[in-house]
């Protein structure tokens, strides 16, 4: 039998229910794995083994009483360090919050606790979720378990690497421009960015408020559906939270896709794709057809403007969201500042890393007197146009597909010097956040031994269709690769 740490959450839950393994055993397997690989992978910023152990023991007590285990009890999870956890430091990968201990739980964390959350630790990430490689973490880069010389993607690189390396069986990430889907893609995992407003943002440290969403990073689509049903749903603490009934995502997994109308936006299949990625995606399209789906070229005419619009809107919102880090109420503060001006300037200069500063500068500039109309307002209008593109596409198609990332995992340091090149790696995922629609990334093959992700985009709140299509494709693709021991974490 495969090591417990390498199983899917739903498989483990079965074993727990049948009392074939205990939660404590399961956790030990995962913690041993952490022991073995964490030094090289660096998936976590803070380990919470003690909390996890307590949760696991509690889960076993329930099992012994013959009660059915809570949904997440005894199923070791990694939680991106962007989600506030009461009494457990929450750093956002930043020196600014190195010692920040929240006095409250994010709504999603609270919901998971009710479900018996067994949290291994707070996972590594690009500082304030700004990045696509996890190289922007104050706590050091996370490495891709598939090849330690390569990045796991970002900004949820820690959660993805943890699940891929067996340091957790599933994880919670956040996605503002691709931060769940791209790392999932680069680490051979399933990642879902839900419809904007489906999952509460309360307690998710804000990067770009109008784009941020929390979502699952898992080993298969079933776990993805399972975790989504635990975190989705209306939250009165979040004014942008949608007051809708949460469908049964598990049930949605059943069914076929014959007759499904699949659109392939040609704008997302163009330059920048490596041959390997293109080949893997084309193969997936052939599979769609074999399964009875109708595959046709689609168009999103304004999507070429998405990247530019995103790199105005996101930094603008970020420049305001990050203004609160001033060393007064919490967080890093320089010593001996003579006046407020100095305290602000020096604290923020020393507390933020280069990418965060870059985006604060960019966003502040875009909002500053005389530029608002030309940049921010114009970007919001382009957002309207992109929304329109998707709406008309979805009149014709049930889902749209594209690569998740134009390339597989790239080498550490490869793009650090060139922000624009780095930004390009989100070219396929960004339009989805601008439109607020849901999208899922599933592994669809390898390119030079590195995983490639297929992105499936759906209508607003049509996660059920996304999950069904993803599950059917997952089965058909039969991707069951694990990180290669010789190049991966065992080396």
């Amino acid at each position: 039998m495969r090591a417990l740490y390498s199983l899917k959450a739903w498989e483990l839950r079965e074993l727990l229910r049948r009392r074939e393994v205990s939660a404590v055993e399961t956790l030990r397997s995962v913690l041993d794995r952490v022991e073995a690989v964490e030094k090289r992978v660096n998936s976590f910023i803070t380990l919470t083994a003690e909390d996890a152990r307590r949760a696991a023991e509690h889960a076993d007590e329930r099992l012994e009483k013959g009660e059915t285990p809570l949904e997440t009890a005894g199923l070791p999870m990694a939680v991106k360090d962007v989600l506030c956890t009461r009494g457990i430091r929450t750093t956002c990968g930043s020196r600014m919050l190195e010692n920040f201990v929240p006095v409250y739980d994010a709504t999603v964390v609270e919901r998971l606790r009710r479900g018996g959350l067994t949290m291994v630790g707070k996972a590594n990430m690009d500082e304030f979720a700004m990045g696509s490689s996890n190289e922007n973490s104050f706590f050091g880069p996370t490495r891709n378990p598939w090849d330690l010389d390569r990045v796991p993607g970002g900004s949820s690189g820690g959660p993805a690497a943890a699940v891929a390396a067996g340091e957790a069986v599933w994880a919670l990430g956040s996605d503002t421009g691709g931060s769940i889907r791209q790392p999932a893609s680069l680490c051979g995992l399933v990642g879902l960015k839900p419809t904007y407003g489906l999952v509460s943002r309360y307690g998710l440290v804000a990067f770009a408020s109008s784009l941020d969403q929390v979502g699952p990073i898992t080993r298969d689509v079933r776990d993805c559906a399972g975790l989504l049903s635990l975190i989705a749903g209306y939250d009165p603490m979040d004014s942008t939270s949608l007051e809708v009934d949460v469908p049964d995502y598990q049930a949605a997994l059943e069914g076929e896709i014959s007759g499904l109308k699949v659109g392939v936006p040609h704008e997302l299949m163009r330059e920048g794709l490596t041959p390997g990625v293109e080949e893997a995606v084309r193969r997936s399209l052939r599979l769609f057809q074999e399964l009875g789906a109708e595959v046709e070229e689609a168009t999103l005419p304004h999507v070429d403007y998405a990247l530019s619009a995103y790199y105005i809107i996101a930094p603008a919102e970020a420049s305001s969201n990050l203004a609160r880090y001033d060393g007064v109420r919490y967080g890093f503060r320089v010593e001996g500042a003579g006046d407020m001006m100095e305290l602000y300037g020096a604290t923020r200069a020393a507390g933020f890393g280069p990418e965060v500063k870059r985006r604060i500068m960019l966003g502040t500039y875009a909002l500053s007197a005389g530029y608002y109309e030309a940049y921010y307002s114009q970007a919001q209008k382009i957002r309207t146009l992109i929304l329109g593109d998707f709406n008309s596409a979805f009149e014709k198609f049930d889902v749209l597909v594209s690569p998740t990332s134009p390339t597989p995992a790239f080498k550490l340091g490869e793009k650090v010097e060139d922000p624009l090149a780095m930004y390009m790696s989100d070219v396929c995922t960004i339009p989805v956040n601008l439109a607020g629609i849901p999208a899922i990334s599933i592994p669809c093959g390898l390119d030079g031994g590195l995983p490639v992700g297929l992105q499936i985009m759906g209508r607003v709140l049509d996660e059920p269709t996304l999950l069904r299509v993803a599950r059917v494709m997952e089965e058909a693709l039969g991707f069951d690769e694990q990180p290669d021991p010789d190049r991966g974490v065992e080396s």
Partner: protein, 485 residues
Amino acid sequence: MSDYEAVIGLEIHAELKTDSKMFCSCDASFGGDPNTKTCPVCLGHPGVLPVLNRKAVELAMRLALALNCGISPHSIFHRKNYFYPDMPKNYQISQYDLPLGVGGYLDIEVEGEKVRVGITRAHLEEDTGKSIHISESGRIHGAVYSLEDFNRAGVPLLEIVTEPELRSPEQARVFVQELKSIMEHLEVSDCKMEEGSLRCDANVSLRPCGSEEMGVKAEVKNMNSFRALYRALDYEIRRQEELLESGGEVVQETRHWDADANVTTTLRTKEYAYDYRYFPEPDLVPLELDESFIENVSAGLFEMPADRRKRFCEEYGLPEHDAVLLTSSKAMGNFYDAAVGEGVDPKAVSNWMMGELSAFLNAHNIEIENVRITPVQLAMMIAMVEKGVISGKIAKTVFEEMLNTGDDPDVIVDRKGITQISDEDKLEEIIVEAVSENPNSIEDYRGGKKKALGFLVGQVMRKTKGRANPQLVNEMLRSYLEEQG
């Protein structure tokens, strides 16, 4: 007579009368130990989100309607970005190009002249925390360091901006006075200037009389009483006048009213012009305030000060002057209505309230809310005078006692045994006594010296320590003296 005309616009911030804060469920009441009325939301902790308080919106609309503003069918919140230690998020959630209320007006009357003051806008925003400056002066200038208390952070504020249509400190004072009274009557705000729940800033500029274009304006802050408002504006106008007359120039700046020194001083000149980087608050959704919503906040449910004034004149036949004073605050008007409701003479109530009562309030400078006497008690006392149980003179003593003890007038009268003597037999004795002690006064009276009567009345009053019923004593003495003849 100066050759310059003052142009004054006001920016008034009023804390709305809600139980909880604007975007979180913290207690919004004034005071308390520092940082005991906060939560992650109003402390601006990472990850928190605002959720709008419905009551705040309703109160804001109620006032906007009362100020004849149009209610925007679509209004949104913006972020106003600037760094200041009393701002937890270093941005303020406010309204910008789509405020709740626009284009209203308020009519005031100053020295018999009616003035219509335009209301540019009325919008919602959140209050900041409070800074305490540690230095000898307690002023921000020369402070060694400051302390921040966020109890007030996030309390809902209504900002009212007037057109620059006020022309004198007196007009400004009356405008704010009237606005305060309206807000009290609509139960929108407590308007306690001393507690900072009503704050007022002014833009002041001068221009040659007859000229149409605006001069350079200075913004005056920290005027936290009506007196301060008047004197600060008066000072600022004279300051600018002297500057201009001596060929100088007014600089655009923010000036701070120093109530002790009676001057305005430069608070800060802008190294860079303000650049607030307003943009729509992505954490809040738009307000679409339709008719139905406007219905149930309509100000019509409340009596406005002007209407009350009218009613006092017509219903109770009060002179304008009385009505104005009795409606200067809602509590005053309520007290009056309650007392008159007891069925005593309205003018008598007015006289007592504008006389003894007001004097007492000023002397101890307290609000009528905190006075010990109740409207019913005042009415009781007036009734006793009407029934002749006590004389008007005694009443003053009784009233003072009531103000100090809060006891009912009859209790006081009994305790002091100071009911009026109208018992004729008893008075008879005293009169005989008085006359016999002053035989020559009888001569004088007979000799036609009518004032001898007055002298004897005085004697009787002295013997009764003023408790004798004067009219009765008068009549009895006259007839007694006649009989003697």
